[in-house]
């Protein structure tokens, strides 16, 4: 996937002009929040669970090394292997090594954001191994050659008609005159296509919603059951997970599961929740013969202990995306990299650097809706602001906007001058627009006036009027008139 974070503004414009996308975004912004609200309202102890979930993750982050070692120890006791990977490259190479050793031709994959983060599909394909996405949404976007635009609903931007097009283009072995009107028919067709792939795959690659230190298990949550076929049928199971996915105990995992699905889709639980613990044992009827865990850092240890640590509590539930008015306006692709929405705007600069991602934390009104729904209590607006601070403090050159702001601050620190200068500007703008009440265009303020009128100032400032003795004729007339 090409990184497009630097063209954020352009991406956003394109997305806003894309009518199909806008219809799908409308639907999403109505559906998920409504369902979440119902689920949360049904559960009086939700707030309490949120706090518990937050505390669990805070405890983990404060003791991460300890729990990671515990976890590794458990995995090895069960006959699995843990591979520590500092960055995406190391992770890709390790996965390739395992695939080659297994003589793999095809790899089935269940949805994994870490898989996206390390661009594993392209890499495997380049090395002659065919990756096959098995989550329906992921399968659709794989056919369309696109990255996901949402964490839990990767093909949310695709209309039904577009799915039909993609299926007709790729599934050429099926009769051309088949009827794909009904969504159920599309589902049936995808299922038919995937069934064989599941059976043929040599390696199954899954992500992990959590890694449990006390048992060495990885937790998989899906609504389609595709992760279960992905890990259980092939001879080799590879789990890819980032280091902050650890939770200490099964009890902790269940606390987080209780907030996860409710926040994500409004379900009490997702349809399938699986705990995988090592390879198949002698007495097990099925399961993989080999079990590997790729533990990825890729910048996370740098966030640990920094002002951004709290984003490592994220469980990728997507509630912040589903409720974000910016995400609703532009969709996921506009963010230009793997993680969209508020959580992406905080995490992405941490992973790829603020230089390339500087628009993401800035393109927010800090309205606070995300924080209010985040099950892990992550103060997303505060973290977005922290990126702005870091960027501001690190960057020696100033944009025109920043110079204007600096001037404003300079002026604000000199009250007498502030009132003089602003008094003059306000008198001018007032004279220009007061009769009509609005100004249609102001030089150097086209960001405002290109989209909306500027309400004309009344003419004299409040401080001027007040200190000349006016007390409240607020008819909009100027001081002169007030005093006569």
């Amino acid at each position: 996937m090409e990184m497009k974070t630097t063209t954020f503004k352009e991406n956003a414009r394109t997305a806003i002009a894309d009518e199909t996308l806008q219809i799908e975004l409308d639907r999403l912004s109505f559906g998920f929040p409504e369902k979440r609200k119902k689920a949360v309202d049904r559960m009086p102890e939700f707030e309490q669970l949120r706090e518990q979930a937050r505390d669990i993750k805070n405890h983990v982050l404060a003791n991460l090394d300890l729990y990671l070692e515990n976890y590794e120890d458990r995995v090895e006791k069960h006959g699995g292997q843990v591979h520590w990977c500092r960055d995406a490259k190391a992770a890709r190479e390790q996965i390739l090594k395992i695939c080659k050793a297994a003589d793999a031709k095809t790899v089935t994959k269940s949805k994994s954001m870490i898989g996206e983060e390390i661009f594993i599909n392209d890499f495997l394909a380049k090395n002659g191994i065919e990756p096959i996405e098995t989550d329906l949404g992921e399968y659709i976007i794989q056919l369309r050659g696109e990255p996901p635009s949402h964490i839990i609903a990767p093909a949310i931007h695709v209309s039904k008609a577009q799915v039909e097009d993609a299926f007709r283009r790729v599934h050429t072995d099926l009769p051309a005159d088949r009827n794909l009107e009904d969504p159920a028919a599309l589902l049936q067709e995808a299922r038919g296509q995937l069934r064989n792939k599941f059976l043929q795959a040599d390696v199954g690659l899954t992500g992990a919603n959590m890694l449990v230190a006390e048992t060495g298990s990885n937790v998989l949550v899906t609504n389609e059951g595709n992760a279960d076929l992905t890990y259980a049928l092939p001879r080799v199971h590879i789990v890819i997970a980032s280091i902050e996915k650890i939770v200490p105990t099964l009890e902790d995992a269940s606390t987080i599961l209780r907030v996860l699905a409710r926040s994500a889709t409004g379900q009490d639980m997702s349809v399938y929740t699986t705990f995988c613990t090592g390879p198949k044992r002698f007495e097990d009827p099925d399961g993989p013969e080999e079990y590997h865990v790729i533990l990825l850092d890729n910048g996370r240890t740098d966030l640990l202990g920094s002002e951004f640590e709290e984003i490592l509590r994220c469980i990728r539930c997507s509630a912040c995306l589903n409720h974000c008015p910016i995400y609703k306006a532009i969709g996921g692709h506009a963010y230009g990299w793997v993680y969209p929405g508020p959580m992406g705007a905080v995490l992405t600069p941490g992973l790829i650097g603020m230089e390339d991602a500087s628009d993401l934390p800035n393109a927010s009104t800090l309205c606070g809706k995300c924080e209010s729904v985040c099950p892990m209590g992550i103060p997303l607006p505060k973290l977005l602001r922290s990126w702005r601070t870091r960027h501001f403090e690190a960057k020696p050159t100033r944009s025109l906007g920043q110079i204007t702001l600096k001037f404003w601050a300079w002026l604000a620190k000199r009250p007498k001058l502030y009132h003089k200068v602003n008094g003059l500007i306000i008198a001018t703008l007032g004279a220009l627009g007061r009769r009509k009440g609005r100004i249609k265009w102001i030089p150097f303020a086209s960001g405002w006036t290109s989209k909306r009128d500027f309400p004309a100032p009344m003419g004299n400032t409040f401080i001027q009027q007040y200190h000349k003795g006016a007390r409240g004729d607020t008819s909009g007339r100027r001081l002169r008139e007030v005093k006569k």
Partner: protein, 261 residues
């Protein structure tokens, strides 16, 4: 509030830069409401801006300087009141964060934060006034500004006050709690995204078919009013203080001067 409220508390009015510069009527309405509620009100001339533009752009050192100035100017009062959830929230919630490594200033910031309130919260929850009973024959919808709503929990208070306004009928929008796309500098830095958000807000307002739009933050109201006029609507947009203080004879935000004035 656990402490006793002074009988005639001395309130420092932090009028906010937008009200000061563009809509003094909101300042006068605020003044009237505070005085009606029994407060003695002062308007320090040394006030400028709360520092929020610098703060949200990551310029902490300028923000700190401005915050110090606000603290020095206002700390002598019993209360500091601002007709804005966003500026009120800046002082009561964010100043503290600026002085983490400076005990003296942190203490002073905390002292100020504890007695700084947004106007409606102050009238409703602190002073608990029962002096609001204006007249306004109209139908109105209310926009919940983000900082007021989510930082300061302002939701029912303005609606309760509006019930005392004779002749006013409130109609709720479906998206009254959704951000209008103002976001301070956001709206000029990302005009396309802002416009998209703003149009959703304006559509929601229009579908209420009310005559008036009310809110508690001038930034959002200017944003909304400017888009409404750009789209050819003549809906009246006002700060809630103007209605509560019975001061609605002048033109609404972005509306032309009334000829008979």
């Amino acid at each position: 509030m656990s402490e006793a409220i002074p009988t005639s508390p001395h309130v420092g009015l932090f009028v906010t830069c937008l009200v000061d510069l563009t809509r003094p009527s909101v300042g006068f309405a605020t003044l009237k409401l505070l005085e009606l509620a029994g407060c003695q009100v002062s308007v320090p001339v040394m006030q400028t801006c709360c520092g929020q533009p610098a703060y949200n752009s990551g310029d902490r050192s300028d923000t700190r300087d401005i915050a110090k100035q606000v603290i020095e100017t206002f700390e002598e009062f019993d209360y500091i009141v601002a007709p804005s959830g966003s500026c009120g929230g800046m002082i009561s919630h964010h100043y503290l964060d600026l002085f983490k490594d400076d005990d003296t200033w942190e203490k002073r910031a905390k002292n100020l934060a504890n007695k700084t309130f947004e106007l409606i919260v102050f009238l409703s929850d602190v002073i608990k006034t029962n002096k609001i009973n204006g007249q306004c024959k109209t139908t109105a919808t209310y926009h919940d500004s983000c900082s007021g709503l989510r930082e300061l929990s302002i939701k029912d208070q303005p609606r309760e006050f509006l019930k005392n306004i004779n002749g006013l009928k409130l109609v709720e929008g479906k998206k009254s709690e959704v951000c209008c796309g103002f976001g301070g500098l956001f709206c000029v830095k990302y005009p396309d995204i802002s416009e998209k958000m703003l149009d959703e807000k304006v559509d929601d307002i229009l579908q209420t078919e009310t005559e008036m739009v009310l809110g508690g933050d001038l930034g959002c109201l200017m944003n909304i009013a400017g888009r409404l006029t750009r789209r050819g609507s003549e809906k009246e947009v006002r700060h809630i203080a103007e209605v509560l203080a019975d001061m609605t004879h002048g033109p609404g935000i972005a509306a032309p001067e009334k000829t008979e004035a």
